[in-house]
Amino acid sequence: MSDKQLILVVDDDPDLVESVSMKLESKNFRVIKAYDGVEAWDKIKEDRPDLIILDVMMPRKNGYELCDEIKNDPQYKDIIVILLTAVGDAVTSTSYTHMDGKTNLADDFIPKPIDLNKLMEIVEENLE
């Protein structure tokens, strides 16, 4: 059952955090929010979410660093991490590639611009 599962949404775009949170709440997930990697790490230690939806490029601590810290910490390594990456069909130039993401230990990826329904599918699949 998903109605008690806790999801942490981390992005420095507050509008995206709000949209994703509303969608998750409509699916009966509990949601907590953070707007950069440092704040997210505090929320992880405080609330230990079941799954994290994590943006890559953020101030103070980026998504890669945070993902590495989570996956290298025995206490938190089992938390599922889904990275939001900005490499999609629409993006014609960026200095970041999927390869960067694959070198770390994230459980799944979804390209931006995200399709919220697709994101919900990925979340539910990973929590099964």
Binding site: P14, K33, A86
Partner: protein
């Protein structure tokens, strides 16, 4: 004065880099001038992280903010356009301060206005997005503003007000001067046959309040707006413009069922002195959409406003900040607007945002 013991919890504060504000003033063919301005900015790849426009009421005005890095370029460009060069005013060295999440709360909006007014920080514009309330103020007063807000708002212990925008100049610096083959993931360059959005929202049966005040009244009016929250009223959109006659024009959009309460409250609390202009227009409608990096993508506003302008479609008020574009339309306007926007927007689904907000009484 608000009870100082009751700080309001917010999620965070976001700041921008140094910007300049352009104001396009009232003129005969206003819609065409807005479209022309956005087209020129788009053609020259100049981003607008903040836009507000209104053709509602007595004075039509459009404001937008662009990076200070683009100042010389934009002045040169505008000086070459006969229809624009005498119509645009500049405010130099401004910055955006965004507070989130606003939760559609008039308590938060009122308290923010009180805090800025009390600290004598001039406000040059405000626009709400899905989650943020963005204020345009003097760039040099951003730190003072954060200090002022800390008396009234509680931030999470580990939160630090942040800047997340990375200008094209910064990217060039990293690539050229630092000779880095790869930098962090930066502002990506998009090309889409249609602009992808996270969804398109609609709201019907709304009322649009327009109130014009003197800047020195902002703290007082903030307290009055704060009190509207106690009547159970929430906003759908907030937009402020600094007018050329040194007045602030406030647009507040809310559900029509609250119109009578708002009118009574305003007349009782604001004690109109005859110099303030006030009107309520209803019913009006709202359409809004949100997508990745909208504030960093110069083509979005041009595409959206051109699509509506080409269809001779009136926009009463537009507010674009954060990553969202809000358009207030006359009654029965949404279906036609959707038809016109369908050519430029890809809407993957209808979010349940409206249902969510309605469920929570907002």
């Amino acid at each position: 004065m608000p009870n100082m013991m009751e700080k309001v919890k917010i999620g965070g504060i976001k700041l921008s880099s140094k910007l300049i504000q352009l104001s396009l003033l009232n003129q005969d063919d206003f819609d065409s001038s807005i479209s022309l301005l956005f087209k020129i900015l788009n053609k020259n790849q100049i981003n607008m992280p903040f836009i507000s426009t209104t053709t509602n009421g007595g004075i039509s005005q459009a404001c937008c903010c662009v990076s200070s890095d683009d100042e010389n370029r934009i002045r040169d460009i505008i000086n070459k356009v006969e229809n624009l060069k005498t119509q645009i005013q500049f405010i130099n060295e401004v910055g955006m301060l965004s507070v989130f999440p606003h939760g559609s709360s008039l308590k938060i909006l009122g308290l923010l206005l009180f805090a800025f007014g009390n600290a004598r920080i001039p406000i040059f514009g405000i626009s709400s997005s899905i989650s943020t309330l963005t204020f345009i103020i003097d760039y040099g007063k951003l730190k003072k503003a954060i200090t002022s807000l800390s008396s009234y708002f509680d931030l999470p212990a580990s939160h630090a007000p942040f800047k997340s925008d990375i200008s094209l100049e910064t990217q060039k610096y990293y690539k050229k001067v630092r000779k880095l083959e790869k930098t962090m993931e930066t502002a990506a360059v998009y090309w889409e046959p249609k602009i992808k959005t996270y969804g398109l929202q609609e709201a019907y049966n709304l009322s649009l309040l327009e109130l014009t005040i003197k800047p020195e009244q902002i703290a007082n009016r903030g307290l009055h707006i704060n009190k509207l929250d106690k009547l159970g009223i929430h906003f759908k959109l907030v937009m402020f413009q600094y007018l050329s006659n040194q007045r602030l024009r406030i647009h507040l959009l809310f559900q029509r069922k609250w119109e009578e309460k708002v009118q009574k409250h305003i007349h009782k609390q604001l004690q109109m002195d005859g110099k303030e202009f006030i009107q309520i227009k209803s019913p009006v409608e709202l359409i809004y959409f949100h997508g990745p990096h909208f504030g960093d993508r110069h083509g979005i506003a041009d595409s959206a406003f051109s699509a509506l302008s080409n269809g001779k479609f009136p926009i009463l008020v537009a507010g674009c900040s954060g990553a969202a574009i809000h358009l207030v339309l006359p009654e029965n306007g949404i279906q036609r607007a959707k038809f016109l926007l369908a050519d430029i927007l890809e809407v993957p689904q209808i979010l349940t945002l409206s249902n969510h907000l309605n469920k929570h009484g907002r």
